[in-house]
C-alpha cells in the first residue's frame, strides 16, 4: 500500500510538472484571444523553458551560493507540494501526511528562497520585490490557515486528502455557506501566493510595479528556468487543490489503474477550465495598489473567519 501510494505521488508530480507550463500557456492564450490577438499557442511556455535550459547562466561577482542553490530549492518545494496535495488521488504518502500545516510550510520554503535570492543580488529592485513579497506572504498566511481550518472542521481532520474525500462522499457540503466562504477565501489567498492579478502583475515590465518579477530580475539561464517552472508548478498545484475542493468528482480514491487514469483526465479537465477562467478573469482586473493589497487580504481573511464561525456555531 505504501509503495503504491508513493508511486501514485510520483506519478502526480510527473503529471503536474508536465501540465504546469500548459496551464500558463492556456491562461496566456485565453487572455490573448480576449484581447483580439492570435496568441503564442499553449506550448510556448515549454519552448521558453527548453530555450532557457540551453542558454548559459550569468552570475554577478559578490553574490553568495544562495543565488545558485535557491532556484533548485524553489523548484523542489513546488515539486514536494505537488506530491503532497490530493491532485489525482486521495492516497497519501507513508509518514508524510498531506497535512495542511506541512503543505503551507513547504510552500513557505519556496517563498523564502525566492525572497533571499532577491536580497542576495544587492540591487535595489531585488530588495524591493523581496520586501513586498514577504509582506504579502505574511499577511496571506492567516487566511490560508483559517480557511482550511474551516474546511477541516466538517472532515474532523486537517489532512487535505480526507477533506476532499469527505466532500466526495457528501457533495451537499460543497454548497454550504461554510465551504463557499472558505473556498472563496482560499482562492484569493492562492492568487496572492502565486502572484497573479490583482495582487501582482506577472506580465509587467515596470520595475516599480513588480513583486515576483523584481526578485528574479537578475536570474538567467537555468536558474530562471527553475524559478519560472517552480512558480508555474505552484500555481497549477494550488489551482488543482481549489478545483478538487470545488469539484471533487473524478478524484481517484484507490490505486487501480482505471481510477488513476480517470483521476488524471479529470485533473486535466479541471485545470484547463480553471486556467481559462483565470486568464479570462485577469482581462477584467487591474493590479491593486500595493497598500490596497492588505485590504484585499483582510477581506479574504474575514471570509475565512466567517466560515469558521458559521461551521462552529451552527449545529
Amino acid at each position: 500500500m505504501n509503495w503504491t501510494a508513493t508511486a501514485v505521488a510520483l506519478l502526480q508530480v510527473l503529471i503536474a510538472t508536465l501540465v504546469a507550463p500548459l496551464v500558463i500557456g492556456i491562461t496566456r492564450q485565453t487572455r490573448a484571444r480576449l484581447e483580439g490577438r492570435v496568441g503564442a499557442g499553449i506550448l510556448q511556455p515549454w519552448r521558453d523553458l527548453r530555450k532557457l535550459l540551453r542558454k548559459e547562466t550569468l552570475q554577478a561577482n559578490g553574490v553568495s551560493w544562495i543565488s545558485s542553490i535557491g532556484p533548485i530549492v524553489v523548484m523542489a518545494s513546488s515539486l514536494l507540494v505537488a506530491a503532497l496535495l490530493p491532485l489525482i488521488s486521495t492516497l497519501t504518502l507513508p509518514f508524510v501526511p498531506d497535512d495542511l500545516f506541512v503543505v503551507v510550510s513547504v510552500l513557505l520554503i519556496g517563498t523564502v528562497a525566492v525572497a533571499l535570492i532577491g536580497l542576495d543580488v544587492g540591487s535595489a529592485f531585488g530588495g524591493m520585490g523581496s520586501s513586498r513579497h514577504m509582506m504579502i506572504a505574511a499577511l496571506v498566511e492567516p487566511t490560508v490557515l483559517v480557511a482550511v481550518y474551516a474546511l477541516s472542521i466538517p472532515a474532523g481532520s486537517s489532512l487535505l486528502s480526507s477533506i476532499v474525500a469527505t466532500r466526495l462522499d457528501a457533495p451537499a457540503v460543497i454548497l454550504s455557506p461554510v465551504s463557499l466562504l472558505a473556498v472563496v477565501a482560499l482562492f484569493v489567498a492562492v492568487l496572492a501566493e502565486t502572484g497573479r492579478l490583482p495582487v501582482d502583475n506577472p506580465s509587467t515590465h515596470l520595475e516599480l510595479t513588480m513583486v515576483h518579477e523584481a526578485m528574479i530580475l537578475e536570474s538567467s539561464g537555468r536558474d530562471l528556468a527553475w524559478l519560472e517552472l517552480g512558480s508555474w508548478l505552484r500555481l497549477s498545484a494550488l489551482l488543482g487543490l481549489v478545483a478538487n475542493l470545488m469539484i471533487p468528482w473524478g478524484l481517484a480514491t484507490d490505486a487501480t489503474v482505471l481510477a488513476l487514469v480517470v483521476g488524471t483526465i479529470a485533473l486535466l479537465l479541471k485545470l484547463t477550465v480553471f486556467a481559462a477562467a483565470l486568464g479570462a478573469g485577469e482581462v477584467f482586473l487591474a493590479k491593486l495598489r500595493l497598500f490596497r493589497v492588505p485590504e484585499l487580504l483582510a477581506g479574504s481573511f474575514v471570509l475565512a473567519f466567517l466560515a469558521v464561525t458559521a461551521s462552529y456555531l451552527v449545529t
Partner: protein
C-alpha cells in the same frame, strides 16, 4: 421538496446574505455597494420563496415577489440614480476597511453567540439561519456608524432592514402579508425622503458628507 435540499437552499441563501453584507463593508465604490445590495435583495427574496415553497403558503410566495420587486429592483434603482447623478462614487469611511472588516467578523461571531441560547441545538434549518439575520442588523449598524456619505448611510440602513426582515421571516416564518407590505412601503418612503434630502444637500453644500452636517447644529 426533500428536507436536505430545503436545508441546503436555506443555508445557501442565508450565506449569500452574510457574504453580500461583508462585501458591502469591504467595497469603497458606492456603485458596487448598490449592486451588492441588489444581490442581497435577491437572496432575501429567494429565502422567503424557499420558506413559502416549504410551507406551501401562497402568501409567502407573494411576499417574496414583493421583496424581489422592492429590494432587488426598486430600491437599488433609486439609489443608483442618486449615486450616478454626481460623479465621484468613492466612499471615504471613518474606519479603514481592514479594521471595519475585522469588526464585521467579530459582530457576526457575537450574533451567533447571542443567538445560541434560544437557538438550542435544533436541526431546524430556519432557526440555524437566524444568527445571520442578527449579524446583518449589526453590520448595518456598523455601516451607519462608519460611513460618511449619505448614500452609503442609506445602504447601511437597508442592510439593517434586510436583517430585520430575515429574522422576522425565519422566526415567525412569515409576518402576515399586509404587515410586510406596510413595512416595505415605509422603507420605500424613508428611502425616497432621504433621497430628496440628499439631493437638496447636494445642491446646497455640494457634498453629502454627514460630518459637514455638524455645522448645521445652530
Amino acid at each position: 421538496m426533500s428536507d436536505n435540499l430545503y436545508a441546503q437552499l436555506i443555508s445557501l441563501t442565508a450565506g449569500t446574505l452574510l457574504l453580500t453584507a461583508a462585501l458591502i463593508v469591504w467595497r469603497r465604490s458606492l456603485r458596487a455597494c448598490v449592486r451588492l445590495l441588489a444581490i442581497q435583495g435577491i437572496a432575501l427574496a429567494g429565502l422567503v420563496a424557499v420558506l413559502g415553497w416549504h410551507e406551501r403558503t401562497i402568501e409567502l410566495v407573494l411576499v417574496s415577489l414583493l421583496v424581489l420587486g422592492l429590494k432587488a429592483v426598486l430600491l437599488p434603482l433609486v439609489l443608483s440614480r442618486n449615486v450616478l447623478n454626481h460623479d465621484d462614487d468613492r466612499e471615504v469611511p471613518r474606519l479603514n476597511p481592514t479594521a471595519s472588516l475585522i469588526f464585521a467578523a467579530l459582530l457576526t461571531m457575537l450574533a451567533y453567540i447571542v443567538c445560541r441560547p434560544w437557538m438550542g441545538d435544533t436541526d431546524d434549518p430556519t432557526s440555524r439561519a437566524v444568527p445571520i439575520g442578527i449579524a446583518l442588523v449589526l453590520i448595518g449598524f456598523l455601516l451607519l456608524i462608519t460611513r460618511r456619505r449619505a448614500a452609503s448611510q442609506l445602504i447601511g440602513f437597508l442592510v439593517l432592514d434586510n436583517g430585520i426582515a430575515t429574522v422576522a421571516f425565519l422566526t415567525a416564518t412569515g409576518v402576515p402579508f399586509i404587515v410586510e407590505l406596510g413595512a416595505s412601503l415605509d422603507v420605500l418612503l424613508v428611502v425616497l425622503i432621504l433621497q430628496v434630502l440628499t439631493g437638496r444637500m447636494q445642491v446646497k453644500f455640494g457634498g453629502t458628507d454627514l460630518d459637514d452636517l455638524t455645522e448645521l447644529k445652530d
